[in-house]
C-alpha cells in the first residue's frame, strides 16, 4: 500500500477552438477520498480527466499532484508519480494475452535494461520471475485464472474491465482516475463493481476520481460528489449535500427521478 496523493486543480480549462469543453475548474481532492464526477454527456468529464492525466494539454490552469505541478509532464511521467487512469473504451492491447497485459504494467515500474535482458543477466531473470509472480497473484485475486492465456480482444467487455482494474492495482496508484468503469456492461455486472471498487480502494489506498453515469453507484461509493455541466462545476459536496442541491438536480439528477429514488435506497442501505 502506498500513500494516497492529493490532487489540486486551479482554474483548469480546455478549449477546442470555440468549444469550451472544460471552462475553469478548480478543485482540491484530499488524499484517500473517493470522488464521484458526474454530469450529462458532453459536460466535460472525460476531457477533465484527460487534462489531469496529461493526454490533453489544458488551455490554461494548473494540475498539481501533492505539491508538484504536472504542467508539461507526459502521461507516462505522471504515471510514474502514481497517477494511473483507465479509459472509457477499455480497449487494452487487443493482441496481448491477459498475463502479458498485466506484465506491461509491471514492466513500466520495474525496468530492466535492454542489454541485461538480451544477455540473460541474472538480475533480469530474477526480475522477470518476480514480475510473473506478482501478476500471478493479481490474476488469482481477480479470478482471471481462466483467461490467463486469452488475448484481450477475445474477452467480453465486462472481463476486459476487470483486467483493466487488475492492471491498475499492479501499477500501485496513488491517484486513480477511472473513466466510466461500468460503461457497456450489464446492470447486474455493474452492481458487482461497487464492492470491487471499494476493495481496490482498500487495497491500494489511493485517492480515486470516478467518472460514472451510474449515479446510484457513485452515490454509494463516493465521499464527495462533483456535478459538472457545460464544462463547469455545477455542484460539489458530500452525496447528501449534492442530492439536496437544486442546481445539481437541475443539471443532471432531475432527469431521472427513479435514479434519485434508487440512489437514496442504495446509500441508506450502505
Amino acid at each position: 500500500m502506498t500513500t494516497a496523493a492529493k490532487l489540486t486543480l486551479d482554474d483548469v480549462a480546455v478549449w477546442f477552438g470555440g468549444v469550451h469543453a472544460v471552462d475553469g475548474v478548480s478543485l482540491v481532492i484530499e488524499p484517500g477520498e473517493i470522488v464521484g464526477l458526474i454530469g450529462p454527456n458532453g459536460s466535460g468529464k472525460t476531457t477533465l480527466l484527460d487534462a489531469i492525466s496529461g493526454q490533453r494539454r489544458p488551455t490554461r490552469g494548473t494540475v498539481t499532484l501533492d505539491d508538484e505541478a504536472m504542467t508539461g509532464l507526459l502521461p507516462e511521467a505522471r504515471a510514474k508519480r502514481g497517477m494511473v487512469r483507465s479509459f472509457q473504451d477499455c480497449r487494452l492491447y487487443p493482441e496481448l494475452t491477459v498475463e502479458e497485459t498485466l506484465l506491461v504494467s509491471e514492466d513500466a515500474r520495474r525496468r530492466v535494461g535492454l542489454l541485461s535482458t538480451t544477455l540473460h543477466a541474472p538480475w533480469a531473470r530474477r526480475s522477470e520471475r518476480a514480475k510473473r509472480a506478482a501478476v500471478g497473484e493479481v490474476i488469482e485475486a481477480f479470478g482471471l485464472e481462466r483467461f490467463r492465456h486469452h488475448r484481450t480482444q477475445e474477452l467480453s467487455t465486462g472481463t476486459r474491465r476487470v483486467v483493466d482494474l487488475a492492471a491498475i492495482v499492479l501499477a500501485e496508484p496513488r491517484l486513480l482516475l477511472l473513466d466510466e468503469p461500468t460503461a457497456g456492461i450489464a446492470q447486474r455486472e455493474a452492481e458487482a463493481f461497487a464492492p470491487l471498487l471499494r476493495n481496490i480502494h482498500e487495497v491500494t489506498g489511493a485517492t480515486i476520481v470516478l467518472v460514472e453515469h451510474d449515479v446510484p453507484l457513485v452515490f454509494s461509493l463516493a465521499s464527495q460528489v462533483i456535478v459538472m455541466e457545460t464544462g463547469r462545476v455545477a455542484s460539489a459536496g458530500t452525496p447528501d449535500v449534492v442530492r439536496a442541491d437544486p442546481a445539481a438536480v437541475a443539471a443532471y439528477l432531475g432527469a431521472s427521478p427513479e435514479a434519485l429514488a434508487r440512489s437514496g435506497r442504495l446509500s441508506s442501505a450502505d
Binding site: 494511473v84 496481448l96 535492454l114 535482458t117 492465456h149 492492471a167
Partner: protein, 658 residues
C-alpha cells in the same frame, strides 16, 4: 530561347513545359493512388503495373493486328476497367485485414500483372516498335520541339483529371464514393452499396493507370515491362503524400510540380554524372518536408484514428505450454538446424554461397519481425539499413569479425533511429513512403558515389566508400579460421542466424515484444500505465536496425563487393517485408521459413531470376488470400498435429511403431 535564372538556377520555358508534361503523368498516377486510398484505404503498388499490361496489349492490337488507334483504345480501356475491377474482387477479402497485409498483397498482384504482360495473348512479338500516337502535332518553343506524344499528354491528361473531378463532384456514384471515403459504415447505412462502389473505384483507377501508361509509353526505348519503375511510383506516391492521400487537386498539382522541379534539376546538372543521385536526394528531402509541414494535419485527420489497424492481427498463434508440444517444437528446430548445417556439405560450393544468402535474408526478415510484426511500423526501406551495415564492413576491413558485426549493427541502429524519427508522429502509409524514399536515396545517391558535391554549395560530402566497381572485399577470419571457403562462410552465416534467433526469442519472451505490441495496439493506455512511448517506438527502430546492420556486414562479406545498382534497393526491401508478412507478421519461426521459401526455394531449385520473381509474387498473393496466419501459423499447427499424434500413439501402446 527565353532563358532566365533564379538564384543561380537556370531555367527556360521549354524546360518548364517539358517538366510539366512529365509531371502530368506523375499527377495522373497520383490521382489513381489517392482515389484507391480514399475509397478502400489501399496503397496500391500494382497501380502502375496494371497500366503496363494495357500498354503492351495496345501495342499488340495496333502494330500486330493492325487495328486502328481508336477502336484499339476503346478495347484497351474496357480491358483496363475490367482488370481493375478484377483486382478489387481478388483482394476484397483482405480489406478487413491489417493494412500492411493488403499493401504486400498489391505487391504480389503487381508481379502477377507483370507475368500477364509477358503472356503471348497480350504481348506483341516485337516490343521494340514505336508506340502509336494518334496525332502528329508539334509545338515549337524557342529551339526546342515538343514532340507529338508530349502534345498528346498535354491535351489528354488535364482532360482526364477534369473528367474525374466532374465524375466525383456531380455524379451520384461520385457522391457515394466521397461518402465512403469519409465513413464507410455510415455510407453503408445510408444505402450506399459499398462493395459495388469499391469495385467501381478500382475500375476507374484501372482506367487512369491505363491512360497514364498509354501516354507514357511512346518515345521510350526501355522495355515496356518496366515502363513504370519504383522511382516513378515513388514520385507519384510523394505527390499523393503531399496531398496527405486525400486531396485530388493537390495531388495532381504536386505531381506536376515534381515533374517541373525534376526537369529543371536535370537541365542544371546536365554535365554532372550524378544528376539522378541529386534528384533522388531532392525527392527524399521533399517527402520529409511534406511530412514535416503536414504532421499536424495528418494527426487531426480522422483517418489516423484507424492507425492501429495497419498491423493488427500480429503474432500468429503461439503454442500452449504442454510438455509434448514443447518437445515437438524443439525437435523441429533441431532438425531444421541440423539440415541447415548439413546442407553446405551436400551442395556445390557455388550453391553453398547461395545458402549463406538464405541465412542472411532470414536475419533481415527477423529485423522486420521486430519492426513491422511487433512495433507495427511498416518499412519499405530496410535494405537502406542493410546497406549501412555493408558500408561499415567495407570501411573497417581490419577489425575483428565479431566486433565488426556489433559495430555495424550499432551504426545501423543509429541510422534506423534517425529514419524512424518521423514515426513518432506518423504511422502506416506515410512512414512507408518515407522509408521507400530512404531506400532509393541509399541505393541511388549514397552507394554509387563515394563523394559528391552538394548542389548550389561547394561542399563535398564523402561516405569514404571505396568505388563500387573495383572494391573487392576479403572474407574475414573468425578466431583464426579463414572463412574464404564458401562452405565455411555458409556455416558462419548460419551461426550468425542462430545467435540472432536466440536474441530475438529472448526479446519475444522477456518483455521487449510485449512492450512494443502494447504501444502499437494502444499507445494512450500504455502511456497511462507508465510505458515510455517515445522510447519504446525508437527502441523498435534501434533493435531492427541493429539486426539489419549485422546482416548488412554479412551481406558485404558474402558478396565481396558492392553492386549498388542491383542490390540494396526498394525491390529487396519489399522482398523482406513480404517475408515478414508471409511468415505471419510477428512470428519468429514464420519469418525464417518465409526467407527459406522466398529466397531459398527459387535458388535451390535453380530457376532463372525472372521465374523466381514471378513464383514469389504468385506465392505471396496465394498465401495472403488463403493462409492468413502465414507460415508461422502453418508451422504451429503442424507442431500441434504432430504432438497430438504422438500423444495418441502413446495412449495406445499397441501401436505399430515402437
Amino acid at each position: 530561347m527565353h532563358t532566365f535564372a533564379v538564384a543561380g538556377i537556370e531555367l527556360d520555358t521549354f524546360t518548364v513545359v517539358q517538366g510539366a508534361i512529365q509531371g502530368l503523368l506523375y499527377g495522373l498516377l497520383a490521382l489513381g493512388l489517392v482515389l484507391l486510398y480514399r475509397t478502400t484505404r489501399v496503397v496500391n503498388f500494382a497501380h502502375g503495373q496494371l497500366g503496363v499490361v494495357i500498354a503492351v496489349f495496345m501495342l499488340k492490337l495496333t502494330d500486330e493486328l493492325e487495328i486502328p488507334y481508336l477502336p484499339s483504345l476503346l478495347v484497351c480501356l474496357a480491358f483496363a476497367a475490367g482488370l481493375g475491377a478484377l483486382s478489387e474482387m481478388t483482394l476484397r477479402r483482405l480489406f478487413k485485414r491489417p493494412r500492411v497485409l493488403v499493401m504486400v498483397a498489391t505487391i504480389g498482384l503487381a508481379e502477377v500483372l507483370y507475368l500477364l504482360s509477358l503472356l503471348r495473348i497480350f504481348s506483341p512479338k516485337q516490343t521494340n516498335v514505336p508506340f502509336p500516337v494518334p496525332i502528329d502535332w508539334e509545338i515549337h518553343i524557342g529551339d526546342g520541339i515538343i514532340p507529338p506524344e508530349s502534345v498528346l499528354t498535354l491535351i489528354v491528361a488535364p482532360l482526364v483529371a477534369i473528367g474525374l473531378a466532374a465524375f466525383l463532384r456531380f455524379s451520384p456514384w461520385g457522391l457515394a464514393m466521397r461518402g465512403m471515403a469519409e465513413n464507410t459504415d455510415s455510407a453503408r447505412l445510408s444505402g450506399v452499396w459499398v462493395k459495388r462502389m469499391s469495385t467501381l473505384a478500382w475500375a476507374i483507377a484501372g482506367l487512369l493507370s491505363a491512360i497514364t501508361a498509354i501516354l507514357y509509353s511512346p518515345g521510350r526505348t526501355s522495355t515496356l515491362s518496366e515502363a513504370l519503375p519504383p522511382g516513378v511510383l515513388l514520385r507519384a506516391l510523394a505527390a499523393a503524400l503531399i496531398a496527405s492521400m486525400t486531396s485530388y487537386t493537390i495531388a495532381f498539382a504536386a505531381g506536376i510540380a515534381i515533374g517541373i522541379i525534376e526537369q529543371i534539376a536535370t537541365f542544371n546538372l546536365v554535365t554532372d554524372l550524378h544528376s539522378t543521385a541529386y534528384i533522388t536526394l531532392c525527392l527524399f528531402l521533399l517527402i520529409l518536408l511534406a511530412l514535416a509541414v503536414q504532421v499536424g494535419r495528418l494527426r487531426r485527420d480522422p483517418r489516423t484514428e484507424e492507425r492501429s489497424s495497419w498491423v493488427l492481427g500480429g503474432e500468429s498463434g503461439r503454442a500452449r505450454a504442454d510438455a509434448t508440444r514443447r518437445w515437438v517444437g524443439r525437435g523441429g528446430v533441431t532438425i531444421a538446424l541440423l539440415l541447415g548445417a548439413g546442407l553446405p556439405f551436400m551442395v556445390s560450393e557455388g550453391r553453398s554461397l547461395t545458402l549463406s544468402f538464405v541465412f542472411i535474408y532470414a536475419v533481415i526478415a527477423l529485423s522486420m519481425v521486430v519492426l513491422t510484426g511487433w512495433a507495427g511500423q511498416v518499412s519499405l526501406g530496410q535494405f537502406g539499413l542493410v546497406a549501412v551495415g555493408a558500408i561499415v564492413a567495407a570501411r573497417l576491413p581490419d577489425m575483428s569479425t565479431i566486433l565488426l558485426l556489433v559495430v555495424a549493427g550499432l551504426i545501423s541502429s543509429v541510422v534506423a533511429v534517425v529514419v524512424g524519427l518521423p514515426a513518432l508522429r506518423i504511422r502506416g502509409v506515410y512512414l512507408a513512403v518515407t522509408t521507400l524514399g530512404f531506400a532509393l536515396f541509399m541505393q541511388v545517391t549514397v552507394l554509387p558515389n563515394p563523394c559528391w558535391t552538394l548542389p548550389f554549395t561547394d561542399t563535398d560530402v564523402c561516405t569514404g566508400l571505396p568505388d563500387q566497381f573495383s572494391t573487392y572485399l576479403d572474407r574475414p577470419d573468425l578466431f583464426g579460421m579463414s572463412l574464404t571457403n564458401t562452405r565455411d562462410f555458409a556455416l558462419f552465416a548460419l551461426g550468425v542466424l542462430i545467435v540472432v534467433l536466440l536474441i530475438v526469442r529472448t526479446w519475444r519472451d522477456r518483455g521487449i515484444a510485449r512492450r512494443l505490441i502494447a504501444v502499437r495496439d494502444n499507445e494512450t493506455a500504455a502511456a497511462a500505465m507508465g510505458t515510455p512511448v517515445v522510447r519504446t517506438k525508437l527502441l523498435a527502430f534501434a533493435l531492427s536496425g541493429f539486426l539489419a546492420g549485422v546482416a548488412g556486414a554479412c551481406f558485404a562479406f558474402a558478396q565481396q563487393r558492392f553492386s549498388a545498382g542491383e542490390n540494396f534497393g526498394p525491390k529487396e526491401s519489399i522482398l523482406v517485408l513480404s517475408m515478414a508478412v508471409v511468415g505471419g507478421l510477428g512470428s519468429v519461426p514464420g519469418a525464417v521459413l518465409a526467407a527459406v521459401y522466398l529466397v531459398g526455394l527459387p535458388f535451390l531449385l535453380g530457376s532463372t531470376g525472372t521465374v523466381q520473381f514471378i513464383t514469389s509474387g504468385f506465392g505471396v498473393l496465394a498465401f495472403l488470400l488463403y493462409l492468413p496466419g502465414g507460415l508461422g501459423a502453418v508451422a504451429c499447427h503442424t507442431g500441434d498435429l504432430v504432438a497430438k499424434l504422438i500423444q495418441r500413439t502413446r495412449a495406445e501402446p499397441t501401436g505399430a511403431d515402437a
